[in-house]
Symmetry: D3
Subunit: 134 residues, 6 copies
């Protein structure tokens, strides 16, 4: 259960700022579905606007990385941060963008390997090789 109220469409319709963001999410994603993340942020209109603006710019606008790769990176960060909501929402988003079972398996293998070698490097306090520096 959230620490704040999740806004229903009824709640949203009574607030012009929140309504505008929700309308833009729907138009941008070409879908009527608005997930709980935005319904929770609706309590903080300024944060809602800034966060949606950021997500739209980083995750939706075309860029140097393709949309699926960006979802894989998002899942990797969310996994390291133990963010249940984010792991579920971005695994679903990756599937919607074409993630295959083989790619998912490989993503898991890389995340697992990185987590293991991160811990070993941390426990061993390995100095950075000069060859890796700019």
């Amino acid at each position: 259960m959230a620490t704040v109220k999740l806004w229903t469409d009824n709640d949203v319709s009574a607030d012009t700022r929140v309504s505008a963001v929700f309308a833009d999410i729907r138009a941008t994603r070409k879908s009527d579905f608005i997930n709980n993340f935005w319904r929770a942020l609706a309590n903080q209109p300024a944060l809602l606007e800034r966060t949606w603006q950021g997500v739209k710019e980083v995750m939706v606008a075309p860029g140097a990385l393709d949309p699926l790769t960006k979802e894989l990176i998002y899942i990797a960060v969310s996994t390291a941060n133990s963010c249940t909501y984010c792991i579920h929402s971005h695994t679903a988003a990756a599937r919607a963008k074409g993630l295959t079972d083989d790619q998912h398996a490989e993503l898991l293998a890389v995340i697992g390997m990185a987590s293991e070698t991160n811990a070993l490097s941390s426990a061993l306090q390995i100095p950075v090789d000069p060859e890796f520096l700019l």
Copy 2:
């Protein structure tokens, strides 16, 4: 400074198991350079063998994700885990595999955005939408 000795090539030459792994790293990577991570793990031959075997299988063998994408995922995990050594070594590895400045900029933007929304989702304890479940 490491919490264990970093093995020089001289130390390595006196140990058959470690020599075999180092030879395989050099052959696989087609380079004489062996970075400090492996020189630290050399103190633990069984762990060295298992870790190199895993890295070779996950990061070197061809698979469902291309080599650069795997490095981006590795950097994302290492960043979330604040692993100085891993961030430096895998940013260098990504550059060697063709990472452009634009791709690096976008990787940073996605990692930053994920970290922010991970924290917001955590602070708000947002329940997972049923639509995201299998």
Copy 3:
């Protein structure tokens, strides 16, 4: 479900050390309600005593920071550590100490911004400016 038994008031009444701590919690907080954290720690009387002593000294005794500010710091740490129980209990505590919706919104914005710039600083391995040192 907890990994240990949660002590009921009945269980507590049979143990002098635990009874004494629970009585002090009730007297200090001027409330009969004892939350699950203490009911779980009751299995470890020495840890229960030391932890309650610490919480009383740090969070209850008057000091250089006001009680609400201390709850905001507690929520910030708990969020970064993904501690579901702590986020819920300290958000409730902050509300009981007068947290307004606007303050909560701003707390979330600061936590989110810090998480994002922490990740960027980590990924970029930015050296500390000499100006920041003592």
Copy 4:
């Protein structure tokens, strides 16, 4: 050493977008000093612009929490995330905003206590009391 080039004022003067952000940082902070965080982000003008816009909105603009409290929250998150750069820069910023030694001592005590009880709650997997829910 950073994983990217730190832009000198000379580098900055050759780029209109970056120059505009640096000028706004200087004007907003009423100081000529620009710390390394922004000199590293200069490599990614879009990320630089968005991050500075966010920091300005969240940390500089007047709001429901006073500027020093926001710095304390920032330090708390940065500590939990082990962000060396952020701990140094925001401890310096808090001092510049009037942090006393007594307040610093109490901040440390709260961060320490929260970290300990976060770990205990995690290890014990304590269920959230219904009383804490909205």
Copy 5:
């Protein structure tokens, strides 16, 4: 709910590679029970094989640390990483290997103390004493 299907014994029987790993888990542990971790990894046979091989080598084979000590270390890491599944499964495993209530209480005390002093050391950015280096 998992982000992947949990394999039933029926599913397993249709896949030779997964069947072989499950048979080895059952033989090694001398128990018919296979927990959800392996039923989830079954979707990624190569990862399943490598992970089970590693767990068998590190946690099951006799070594320099006794089996209960290894479980305590596992619980400590899992707690710091907020891994709900891992905390539950390895606390159960430690109990099965003889963990007493007094040992559990002391494990919790050490984890709590380490988490607190980790945070203090991080917030204070304490330089490593030369006496601690090799």
Copy 6:
């Protein structure tokens, strides 16, 4: 460099509370050496007293776990939290308490394995088996 002053023996001699704690550390450890952690905490006498009291009770007093095992748990938590200072100081402490190279190698293997399976369990959001619950 620390965010606070590290107290020299001269500074300490001018403060009765801090002197008392330092004298007790020296007497308890039967050594004149006082490491930087305590020299940094000296700025916060109340926190210094409470932290030393806790460390003495948890790490020094005889209990259900032997002193070396407690150091291994401490290293495991410190590694997961990327605490450079703590990893160095507790690896040195473990060595002083008899840690062998084989035990160190096995500690690293368990920490690495736990980190990997923590990440896999997190990414897969595996539900806890009812068999693991009390």
